[in-house]
């Protein structure tokens, strides 16, 4: 084996040379798709802003299809593969399994993503990211997605193979670290996700070339969502792992309880994917038993797990901060947190935005009865821009600021702008999501080119507030886009022009140093806290969360009760 290793002088992390190059390639490919998707976001947003109404209808639907796929599938999954390689090879200090195969997987993903984009921009595949049959796209559209999925699946098995190697070669002691365990959760969900995608996209591809005569729409929709929704759960697991990693990197924070956090990940593995059923809540033909089992009894266990993570990450930060002497009152630890460091601020805004905006709206929508109020309205993209953009995308952005020096060996350029970037992006996107949800609550449809219905025989008149909310949505979207552009400028600029850090030498053997990224971990929780609580500030935050959650939930039941008068 000709594996070469280097140790990062800043972080003490050890990189396998090929794994390092693979991480760079996947992360860069992801960022390129973020750029493309971001330009498309601008066009889509300016079209949904009634005062601007930029694109004609057909271009709008083509652009929206490309935005959904480039962002949700290509940007996120390329970056996630980089995270998987990092969490296995780097964190376990071992060589990556089958690096050649990993390059093949990367090539498949790249060819697949370019193929799908070509198909979309030809203009005959504007089927939206969900591509519901019987709408038919060009065969190259399905083929591109299939190639991409195969590549991603191979990468997942390379991750698992690396775990096996690390165990066999004894590069770590005891259990794998919590962050790697989170990545394992993401990987497991990815295997199910991609397999479901293959099960439905392969027949659909054959149908598009004429080899199969018919695809049942309900069957398509059911199996497609095992892919479409579960892929969001890969994101959740991955960004939660990133939160834990950043808490450890920025504070040397240790999880409050490894056992509790791991059990929460186990709940994800068992239950998170069942929630896919919320996409079929209004479909006839499937029983309420199936819907209710999959979306409530099972899903709430997964929601519980998210609440555990949402509590233990800030909790561990609070304990670490209190140990450092920021022990006054409830919130000194938070006030004195490094808010000017984008690694921390990005992570924290991601956590709060994901929990308060994405989490609460998700549970509301996932309730069979309440779903009727907002099904297929702008509320839905409002919800998932809070989860997958404020949550996942911002967490990945925060991680990038750590990776630029550690992985790419460059200094981050424009540090002043980098400081503001998470606020622009996170707060802009948070407001964007809220205004979208507001418009959705008034019934404004998602994926709708013209809510004024100009020239149509059966117009519907939306209240003026809906127009106002769409305007506010667009303006906040623009703020977020400035934040997104700043991220792209900083990352691409740093890779091209950032000051090179001192060169490192590669050697043949690994250093059997035991895992301690960043500062040394804190041993116990004794001696800090208020009134017997180790993390009282986090406890108060959790209570605020719970109260908002319960209030909002019941407000929506009230709303529902007013939809149809009984007298």
């Amino acid at each position: 084996m000709n594996t070469l290793f280097r140790t990062c002088p800043q972080s003490g992390l050890q990189f396998d040379k090929t794994a390092e190059t693979l991480m760079k390639a996947n992360a860069v490919a992801g960022v390129v798709f973020l750029l493309v998707g971001g330009i498309l976001a601008l066009l889509v947003t300016l079209t949904r802003w009634p005062a601007v109404h930029l694109l004609p209808a057909d271009t709008f639907y083509m652009t929206l299809t490309a935005h959904g796929i480039d962002m949700l599938i290509f940007w996120i999954i390329f970056f996630e593969i980089a995270v998987l390689y990092f969490c296995s090879s780097t964190l376990l200090r071992c060589r990556l399994a089958t690096p050649r195969l990993a390059w093949l997987a990367f090539a498949l993903m790249l060819i697949g993503s370019v193929t799908a984009n070509v198909a979309i921009f030809r203009g005959d595949s504007s089927v939206m990211m969900t591509s519901y049959a019987p709408m038919q796209a060009h065969p190259a559209f399905y083929l591109g997605l299939i190639l991409f999925a195969v590549g991603a699946l191979v990468s997942c098995f390379i991750f698992l193979g690396t775990l096996v190697i690390a165990k066999a070669e004894n590069t770590y002691e005891g259990s794998i670290p919590l962050v790697t365990f989170g990545a394992l959760t993401a990987c497991i969900i990815a295997v199910f996700t991609i397999a479901s995608g293959a099960i439905i996209l392969i027949p659909t591809f054959l149908w598009s070339v004429g080899l199969i005569s018919h695809i049942d729409p309900l069957m398509y929709k059911t199996v497609w969502w095992a892919f479409g929704h579960s892929s969001q759960q890969i994101n959740v697991s991955a960004h939660v792992a990133v939160w834990y990693a950043i808490a450890a990197i920025a504070f040397g924070a240790k999880p409050m309880s490894e056992k509790v956090s791991r059990t929460a990940f186990l709940l994800y593995i068992l239950f998170l994917q069942l929630a896919s059923a919320h996409h079929l809540l209004t479909d006839p033909g499937i029983s309420s038993e199936w819907k209710i089992f999959n979306t409530s009894y099972a899903m709430y266990l997964a929601v519980l797990a998210s609440m555990v993570h949402g509590l233990t990450v800030p909790g561990s930060v609070e304990v670490a901060q209190r140990k450092k002497g920021f022990n006054k009152g409830l919130f000194e630890w938070l006030r004195k947190a490094p808010w000017g460091n984008p690694v921390f601020s990005g992570m924290f805004i991601s956590l709060i935005g994901f929990g308060f905006l994405g989490g609460i709206s998700g549970v509301m929508m996932g309730t069979e009865q309440l779903n009727l109020i907002v099904h297929n309205t702008l509320y839905v993209p409002g919800h998932f821009h809070a989860t997958v953009v404020v949550g996942t995308t911002l967490a990945f952005m925060a991680l990038t600021y750590f990776l630029i020096p550690v992985l790419f060996r460059r200094e981050v350029i424009l540090p002043g702008l980098a400081k503001w970037q998470p606020y622009l992006f996170g707060i802009g996107m948070g407001a964007f999501s809220l205004f979208m949800m507001g418009a959705g609550t008034l019934g404004v449809s998602r994926r709708h080119w013209d809510i004024a219905f100009a020239g149509s025989p059966m117009a519907y008149e939306y209240p003026a507030t809906a127009y106002l909310l769409l305007g506010l949505m667009a303006v906040s979207g623009l703020v977020a886009m400035v934040g997104g552009a700043a991220y792209l400028l900083i990352t691409v600029g740093s890779l091209l022009w950032g000051k090179k850090l001192e060169p490192v030498s590669y050697r043949k053997e690994t250093v059997p140093l035991r895992l301690a990224p960043g500062a040394p971990a804190i041993e116990a929780h004794g001696g800090v806290g208020v009134g017997g609580f180790a993390a009282p500030g986090t406890f108060v935050l959790a209570l605020v969360f719970l109260v908002s959650f319960v209030l909002y939930y019941f407000i929506n039941w009230k709303y529902l009760s007013q939809t149809w008068g009984l007298s």
């Binding site: 199910f192 069957m219 499937i286």
Partner: protein
């Protein structure tokens, strides 16, 4: 010191930790659960919808 090492029996690892330490068992569980409850159950309901005459 070496005596005490020999005297203590190897530390018993809790069952739960055994499960959490086995990635392939977790992989099996994580694929089996949604396959059974979501896909198989869902698809069975769809294929038993009577066809309109």
């Amino acid at each position: 010191m070496s005596n005490t090492n020999e005297a203590t029996p190897p530390e018993r690892i809790p069952v739960m930790q055994h499960i959490l330490d086995n990635p392939f068992l977790l992989l099996f569980l994580g694929v089996a659960m949604p396959t059974v409850f979501y896909i198989v159950w869902g698809v069975m309901e769809i294929v038993t919808i009577p066809v309109a005459k």
